[in-house]
Symmetry: C2
Subunit: 454 residues, 2 copies
């Protein structure tokens, strides 16, 4: 029985078996590359199409890897030989925007940035803001429970989803969640789907909780500090004072060095760490003034602006971090999160690992929520063992500090071997049982998230 043939017959015009296109689905932004090539890609145009794919997959026992824009950093959307790639990018309609109910109903393939452009015309926005937002899909953001720069103030993706339509492994369609802001009927299966990385069901329609566009001005502060500890001290002072900036990003010396080289400016002359803070809302100005005061008190030099160009320049120092590192080789971007008061410990660990392994680990941090991205740059197609070894030490230390393996990128393929260390045997076992409950034939993104069973 040829699965590609069955698919092509059932869904004429939507199935691709061209090897050049299929080869693209062997990888994502994690840099990881599958050994083989998937058997076919289906470009779904409707919920019906997705149901047909699942029915064929279920009957033939064929794995289905659902894919948005392929911007994942943990290998969750990578397809290997013998697998169907279910591409959701063509399902990008906005089905409803309601200002009265502050919600939008969209197909999962719409890009986050495109949706927000449309919503702006209604005075609304959808807060999730992964760095990839201009090129990543809403469905992908939901499947990964995406984070971003704004989470400390505006929450993670889970808080921005009201309801979902989900196709189950066998092709049945269910609706989970509520169209209302409140709803407590039965278990929160909607929350279970969010962040499940395509392993429990396929998200085919999304009812999103919107917020009114933030009123008032926006004030941006860029600050250099002689020492990283001073920048962390400034963050503590800001937090303890009860301020909640929209953005609070911290770059270490190593990152500043890379960004400086990449953008041809001597950033290290200004300090060895950089803090970017943005305040918005009705109290943006007094908040920014208070933030600048805390920065100066902690030993930093703050530059505050409301000018859009100046602000873009300050923000750009942060935004260039990823491209700067990417220009140096292949990147393994790690994603640990620790309680805010342990961020300094985590940075110290990074320096210790750099010394001991004789590698560079430039690290940026969403300082408002303790989410660090230590980045390992390497040459070649696979992550060298010594880098995994250093990353493994990072993970273990994050757990020791009461933190987590992954703040926002997910587990995918790349971190599954460490999942058990965080969850413990009992919870890992429960999660496997949940997987089996939804996907008894193990066809939905198999091999992702969970470590290989014994």
């Amino acid at each position: 029985m040829n699965v590609a043939h069955l698919l092509a017959e059932a869904l004429p015009g939507r199935v691709v078996t061209d090897t050049e296109e299929l080869a693209r689905y062997r990888t994502d932004r994690s840099g990881h590359m599958a050994a083989g090539t998937p058997l076919a890609a289906v470009h779904a145009r409707s919920i019906d199409d997705v149901q047909v794919v699942c029915r064929i997959a279920y009957e033939t026992g064929t794995p289905v890897v659902t894919r948005g824009a392929g911007t994942g950093l943990a290998g969750g959307g990578i397809a290997d030989s013998g697998e169907i790639v279910l591409c959701m990018g063509a399902m990008q309609e906005i089905l409803e925007i309601s200002t009265a109910n502050r919600l939008a109903v969209v197909q999962p393939g719409i890009l986050n940035g495109a949706l927000n452009e449309e919503l702006a015309g209604y005075g609304l926005w959808w807060p999730p803001d992964p760095a990839s937002k201009d090129v990543s899909t809403v469905g992908g953001n939901i499947a990964m429970n995406a984070g971003g720069l704004l989470c400390a103030k505006y929450g993670v993706t889970r808080e921005a989803v009201l309801a979902l339509k989900v196709v189950l492994a066998d092709g049945r369609l269910i609706s989970v969640g509520h169209r209302t802001v409140k709803g407590v009927t039965g278990y929160d299966v909607c929350a279970l789907m969010i962040g499940s990385e395509g392993t429990l069901g396929i998200i085919v329609e999304c009812t999103l909780k919107l917020q009114p566009a933030v009123a008032g001005t926006r004030s941006t502060i860029g600050a250099f500090f002689p020492a990283l500890e001073q920048a962390i001290d400034a963050v503590s002072r800001i937090t303890e004072a009860g301020l909640v900036p929209a953005i609070m990003e911290l770059l270490d010396r190593r990152t500043l060095e890379c960004v400086g080289t990449y953008t041809a400016q001597n950033l290290l002359a200004q300090g060895s760490s950089y803090l970017l803070v943005q305040c918005d809302g009705p109290a943006a100005l007094p908040d920014a003034e208070a933030v600048a005061g805390f920065i100066e008190a902690a030993g930093g030099t703050a530059f505050t602006t409301m000018d859009p160009d100046e602000s873009a320049r300050l923000v750009n120092i942060r935004r260039q971090a990823f491209p700067a590192l990417e220009s140096m080789g292949t990147m393994l971007v790690e994603d640990v999160a620790v309680p805010r008061d342990r961020v300094a410990d985590m940075f110290r660990k990074v320096v210790e690992l750099e010394d001991r392994y004789d590698i560079m680990i430039p690290t940026a941090c969403h300082a408002g929520d303790g989410n660090l991205h230590p980045s390992f740059v390497y040459q070649g197609a696979t992550v060298p063992d010594e880098i995994w070894s250093a990353a493994g030490e990072l993970f273990a230390y994050a757990l020791e500090l009461g933190g987590t393996l992954s703040g926002e990128h997910g587990i995918g393929l790349l971190k599954r071997r460490w999942l058990g260390a965080e969850l413990g045997d009992d919870l890992l076992d429960i999660q496997r049982q949940i997987k089996t409950l939804f996907d008894p034939r193990d066809i939905l993104n198999p091999g992702k998230v969970f470590p290989a069973s014994l």
Copy 2:
């Protein structure tokens, strides 16, 4: 084998078999009364105690009904004959308050109000605010995913919980969620526990996400309208303008009549519906001014104040609704939620049902999130059939409008027969399987939430 004896032996000093005390656990604030009396109550003092109870219950196949303060409105905490009542009220310690991490770790039996009193000293608060907050426990709030007046602005309980320790049916202890703001390792079992009404596990420790105390003034607006439609129109204008008041409560004519009688004032002379709005935060004053403008434009008369006493008087009209109705008989407080733009339809349905059934259904509404509380007052110990019949019509209509059976009170015993109508067969079946996965012997609050199986 005598279960009460086994418990008393294992947990000396913590087990009560006094029938007078046990009789109290046959009911809660729903007014429903179990036919029988539970076999024993255990006042747990530690996680260990809870584990011991579960081990004995699991081995002997004895049901365990976990109970906070017994303030539930859906009968979720009611115990019947042959059941163990597990009382969590003695576990009320605050284990940690961290301003740096904006979190608190507490035992589940602490009262919401007591916790918030303590947090105020740190410039922090925990937002969930069910009407019962002074007398209900944090663990109970979490088990029910409690709502309240502030949800439209500050979210429901689910958004205010970072992590939980949970004792499983067989006595094992697991930790779910993250101590960090972000965390995406594996499935969100923490969200699954929140609102599970004691049917999946027993919450024994809670890591709560706190917010900084709201700075600035608070402005309160009380407004009377000649017609309910005008009040609803005002709410629409406020919402569409992108305003997010902390509180926005709507009372219908019938409720005003009852509150007027109860408090000896002629409220109906001022209008036939009442809207209470409270604005807080840095933009409280301009927001309140805008709100008052929308109220006047919709045909209402707004009275705005920042004086605490005057404000209390305006808020009190809303707060007296529940006691006023309770003074008239036993109450069945319903709890449907509908999309905000269908609130007017729901109110019309209430009036239609009043006429057709010849009963009174005073209705208050959290207007910011479309959550209505139509209240049926009756005499006697059990809900008359005709009231269930009218309530059943209400539920069906709420679902028709894209709403839900329960915005914040939960399913418990009282609404389980309608659960399937909302979830559909497939999702109901999945939820039953989740229940079986966590509680294979069906000993955790059995018979609650789910309709009786065939």
